[in-house]
């Protein structure tokens, strides 16, 4: 239970701060004495947080589904021809800077939520795909052979043996992907998506450091909350599936 305490606490702080930012007005006024408006008000922080989260969750869900499906297909006998290409693309794709991918989505899809979602899915897919392939390819062939030899069907081998064994690595891929996507979604404000990046961008444009701070603190908190959530998830996974890890 102590594992879940840090993410829970961070989440409470994050939500509390988003709801009660106006309370801190005196503090921000001290930081930014020369501006009339020191609390960002073109959208409530809770709404921005919710929208930011929604973008990340949708892209993570779609990305995970697509990447795991793709990874499985490319490692089956029928799709094995595509494996070298898929793994090459997964690793080359990750050298593309996320900002550049985001920027390239705009000419194709225009401004707003659509291009950012597209870019987040596409870019977030790559680390998951890469880890899925690494996880499935990394399984000792003897294990797979033993499962087949004892009469499991290919589907059973996949569901009961391969996916549980590769799951930990896939989870790590999802963590990487979500971390990157929280950051990229924040930059998405520049192409018209409503996220926690909005106050930062607005503050930078107007020279209002208070706005920048509010956005930056909330983005940072969101990232930390998510990261500690994944930390707890990974620890739980380790305890359940690898007894040595639990003893250590």
């Amino acid at each position: 239970m102590r594992l879940w305490l840090p993410p829970a606490l961070l989440a409470v702080v994050l939500c509390g701060l988003s709801a009660a930012m106006p309370v801190l007005e005196p503090l921000f006024r001290w930081i930014q004495p020369d501006k009339q408006q020191v609390i960002y008000d073109r959208g409530s922080f809770l709404f921005l947080l919710q929208n930011h989260l929604l973008l990340v969750v949708i892209s993570a869900a779609v990305g995970t589904f697509a990447a795991v499906a793709g990874g499985i297909l490319a490692t089956r006998p029928a799709g094995r021809d595509f494996l070298p290409l898929v793994s090459q693309v997964a690793s080359i794709g990750q050298t593309f800077p996320p900002v550049a991918v985001l920027a390239l989505a705009v000419p194709v899809l225009g401004f707003g939520e659509a291009p950012i979602l597209f870019a987040l899915i596409l870019y977030g897919l790559l680390p998951i795909l890469r880890n899925t392939l690494a996880g499935l390819e990394g399984i000792n062939p003897a294990v797979r052979e033993a499962a087949t030899g004892m009469g499991m069907s290919p589907l059973q081998v996949l569901v009961r043996v391969e996916l549980p064994l590769a799951g930990r690595i896939i989870l790590a891929g999802i963590r990487t992907s979500v971390t990157i996507n929280i950051a990229t979604a924040a930059i998405g404000s520049t192409i018209g998506a409503r996220t926690l990046g909005d106050p930062v961008i607005a503050g930078l444009v107007n020279g209002n450091t208070a706005y920048v701070l509010q956005g930056a603190i909330l983005i940072g908190l969101l990232a930390l909350t998510t990261d500690s959530l994944f930390e707890a998830l990974e620890r739980t996974w380790d305890r359940r599936f690898s007894p040595q890890g639990a003893m250590a």
């Binding site: 693309v89 800077p97 996320p98 550049a100 705009v106 950051a183 520049t190």
Partner: protein, 395 residues
């Protein structure tokens, strides 16, 4: 036919290239190959393959794609070499399509009119690149050959883009419009990214050594650098503004050095902070993973600690350290683009200016070179790491 029988069984048909080429064929006929805009901002009119290139051009594109499908199916011993030649040449000659398109459709009397690449062209470029990657993978070519191919394709693109025929291309127009600023952005981008990488490399080296000598440093250092890595870049840039502007107003000396809340100083600082995690982790892991038995063998034969470090540990750790430099460099090139938001310059300034003005060609002028830089750094550093590994023919 009886002769080709056994050969055919040894060379199974490739299914990947036909799939890619077929998709390319469908997309290039369905989508617009190019667009003509009357000026920079107004939306243009799209032209399909046939309208863009005429019967001859469209036929040629179709023929090349069809030929690659056929080549990948027939059991020829040298077919991947043939495919490599075909795909490489097509990629290198791709801007010619734009040249033909511009010459057919650009109105001659309007100086502001520009042609730009349509979705069909981008798809063709993307799928041809995938085909090339697939072919190179099947051929198991050396990295130096791959680099030569890359240089050939890029060289051909640069030459064609600078030729007279493509003057009207929006990207070229935009580049000419920016003039010296492009070069300026390139240098700023490079200086920030490589400055951050080199400074963090030195810092990481010192930290890694500290962690190796003193185990008490390990957890706090790794914890701190992964904490820094978790905070999104925009937040870090934002969080640095207030303290740095406070510092610079308190100490005018700093201000005269150009250190302010926005600009290169917070950008460099944030980039270094980001670069520390991959650098420290790889350097530390690389140095600790050199088997202790090897260090012992060195000591046992009379090497001093210094000789053990510089002659045994460091050379063996170098490929993994370089891998860290590679990850860091790619990351830094991408983050430098974000740093343009706090006024650090570089290619990111084109991206965000373009987004602000809804000038997509300016966005491309920023995004494409950023990607190119990242890919180039990736290729060079991968090659460097590979060349430093001792030949591992058999284990």
């Amino acid at each position: 036919m009886s002769v080709t029988g056994p050969v055919a069984s040894r060379i199974p048909p490739n299914r990947v290239i036909p799939a890619l080429a077929l998709s390319a064929l469908v997309l290039v006929w369905l989508l617009d190959l190019g667009t003509i805009q009357p000026n920079r901002i107004v939306a243009g009119t799209g032209h399909g393959l046939l309208s863009s290139l005429g019967w001859i051009g469209a036929g040629l594109v179709t023929a090349v794609l069809a030929a690659s499908i056929v080549l990948s199916m027939v059991p020829l011993a040298r077919r991947y070499l043939l495919l490599l030649g075909l795909t490489g040449l097509s990629l290198a000659a791709l801007p010619l399509l734009l040249e033909v398109f511009a010459s057919r459709h650009l109105p001659e009397d309007s100086p502001y009119a520009r042609s730009s690449m349509g979705a069909g062209f981008w798809c063709l470029l993307f799928l041809l690149s995938l085909m090339l990657i697939e072919i190179l993978g099947r051929l198991k070519t050396r990295r130096s050959l791959q680099l030569m191919l890359l240089v050939f394709v890029c060289g051909s693109w640069l030459t064609l883009l600078r030729s007279d025929g493509l003057e009207s291309l929006s990207l070229v127009r935009e580049f000419n419009g920016q003039g010296g600023q492009f070069r300026q952005a390139l240098w700023t981008h490079l200086a920030l990214a490589f400055g951050a990488v080199s400074i963090s490399a030195v810092l990481a080296f010192v930290l890694a050594l500290k962690m190796i000598r003193n185990t008490a440093w390990r957890r706090p250092v790794l914890g701190a650098v992964s904490f820094l890595q978790t905070i999104p870049s925009l937040a870090v840039f934002g969080l640095l503004i207030a303290p740095l502007s406070a510092l610079s107003s308190a100490f005018p000396v700093l201000q005269s050095l150009g250190i302010r809340g926005i600009g290169w100083a917070p950008a460099l600082l944030a980039l270094i902070a980001y670069s520390l995690l991959p650098m420290v982790r790889n350097t530390f892991v690389a140095l600790t993973e050199v088997p202790e038995s090897l260090a012992d063998a060195g000591r046992g034969m009379g090497m001093t600690e210094g000789q053990v470090f510089f002659q045994v540990k460091l050379p063996l750790a170098l490929p993994v350290i370089i891998e860290g430099v590679r990850i860091t460099t790619i990351q830094a090139i991408g983050l430098t683009a974000v740093a343009a938001l706090i006024g650090a310059g570089g290619f990111g300034s084109f991206i965000f200016q373009g987004l602000g003005q809804a000038a997509m060609d300016l966005v491309l002028l920023g995004a494409l070179p950023t990607i190119a830089l990242a890919l180039l750094a990736d290729a060079l550093l991968t090659m460097l790491a590979a060349s430093l590994k001792p030949t591992s023919a058999r284990s």
